[in-house]
């Protein structure tokens, strides 16, 4: 009987977990390395998900169960070096261990854009300016204190495209999922804080996925969320501790301002900080957006520029959870056919 083929999966988010489970199911020996001390990546910080508002745990728990006892999971572990020897990859880990594998799958995902770089929005300066990820932590109760008074009245602003489609921060691409995240969160805010009006400031609303348009419409009709087409230019604190934002209402062509009690920044995707190191070490191609570049955007979406190294999930650009899981399944098949051919 030939020796079982081995695979190293780097990144324990939804993509890495799903791919590991599928590959283990096919009979491969899978090692999953995750930098953090827990699995789940960004999804673990999320409270509930678009479009069906299911709790994030409903996605993560089955994924965790699927790799239990089948995959060698190494948490709080980073890759130190990777070398190719006799057709195999020898990866040394921060724990001092070595892993010898036939294939490497990069599922390194993304980081959220650091909102401090858009200083004009006042993140890190004013307490009332938070990110969408922080809002999720409030929703899930992970973030201790109360955000707003439940019986209070006031206004909340949601700023789209923070760190996306913005040459000034070097990110010209669209982060794709923030629009619908903003719509989802706007409804939840109206539900939690009925006395607060919610305003979304957008450039374009990109409701690309199935049911997303329904969410947008529900936000407008059922929850009375107001959508203002115009990018906020600056935020400043007022004497009564509110945040005054300036924008052009481009549909009426007039400059306007409004005071808000809370500002949510929909921060976009940037390539994961750790992926730069891997890119240099493995000399992989990257795109103009600095995410990993597959060999072909249609037919070889999961193939990196080096043989035996595969890509999946948000390491090749912004993706939704559903898309990441689908990619994880697709890459499992690609890896399997690659290993069968090389036998």
């Amino acid at each position: 009987m030939p020796q079982r083929k081995t695979i190293l999966v780097i990144g324990g988010g939804v993509t890495g977990m799903e791919a590991s489970a599928r590959l283990a199911e096919m009979g491969y020996r899978v090692t999953l390395v995750e930098r953090q001390g827990r699995l789940g990546g960004h999804v673990d910080n999320w409270d509930f998900l678009f479009p069906d508002r299911k709790p994030a745990a409903n996605i993560l728990n089955p994924l965790k169960d699927a790799i239990n006892y089948k995959v060698d999971v190494k948490l709080s572990t980073e890759i130190t070096t990777i070398k190719k020897l006799n057709g195999q990859f020898i990866s040394s880990l921060s724990t001092g261990d070595f892993v010898k594998t036939d294939v490497i799958l990069l599922a390194t995902g993304f980081d959220l854009f650091d909102a401090r770089k858009k200083e004009e929005y006042g993140y890190g300066i004013y307490d009332k300016v938070i990110t969408a990820a922080e809002l999720e932590e409030y929703f899930s109760g992970k973030n201790g204190y109360k955000l707003l008074n439940k019986d209070g009245r006031g206004k909340i602003g949601i700023l789209h495209c923070v760190g996306s489609r913005d040459e000034k921060v070097g990110n010209e691409y669209c982060s794709k999922v923030c629009c619908v995240t903003g719509v989802k969160q706007s409804m939840k805010l109206r539900e939690y804080y009925p006395g607060y009006e919610v305003f979304c400031f957008y450039m374009d609303l990109r409701m690309f996925g199935r049911y997303f348009e329904d969410l947008y419409r529900e936000a407008q009709e059922k929850w009375g969320v107001q959508f203002i087409r115009g990018r906020v230019s600056e935020a400043s604190e007022t004497h009564d501790n509110k945040i005054s934002v300036r924008f052009e209402d481009t549909l009426s062509g007039k400059p306007m301002k409004i005071s808000l009690d809370l500002v949510i920044l929909l921060t976009g995707f940037v390539p994961a900080s750790g992926s730069t190191y891997l890119k240099e070490m493995l000399s992989l191609d990257i795109g103009k957006d600095r995410f990993f570049k597959p060999v072909d955007e249609h037919l070889k979406r999961n193939h990196s520029s080096r043989e035996g190294i595969f890509l999946a999930g948000a390491c090749t650009g912004p993706k939704s959870i559903a898309e990441s899981i689908t990619e994880a399944r697709a890459v499992s098949l690609e890896i399997s056919s690659f290993l069968n051919k090389s036998e």
Binding site: Q220, G224, R246, L251, S252, M256, K257, S259
Partner: protein, 116 residues
Amino acid sequence: MRNNKFGFTIHSDNQINLDERDFNLYHKIISGEAGFMSCISCGSCTASCTAAAYTDFNYRQLCHNIRRGQNDAVAKELSKCMFCGKCSLICPRGINTRKIINLLHKELSKTGQYAY
């Protein structure tokens, strides 16, 4: 004529402060026609409008101004509508645009700003 002794005059603020706007009319309209909220500003109402072909009437802009609490010109604008209802037929969001015009007439006649 304004005193222009110093070679300059004072302009009123061009920037609209939404904190100081009156949203009463807006809230009355949405309580009568929730679809008022779901406008995506596609402009097909204005493009199909019989009145807009001959006057500067702009239904999309009229509604948009009400959503932003700019009600000054509503009464004057409203008088240009011919009530043909073509905008209702074309609206991709299914908004009852004709009903909105009716509601506006009703609200404005209450305040004496406009009567049939």
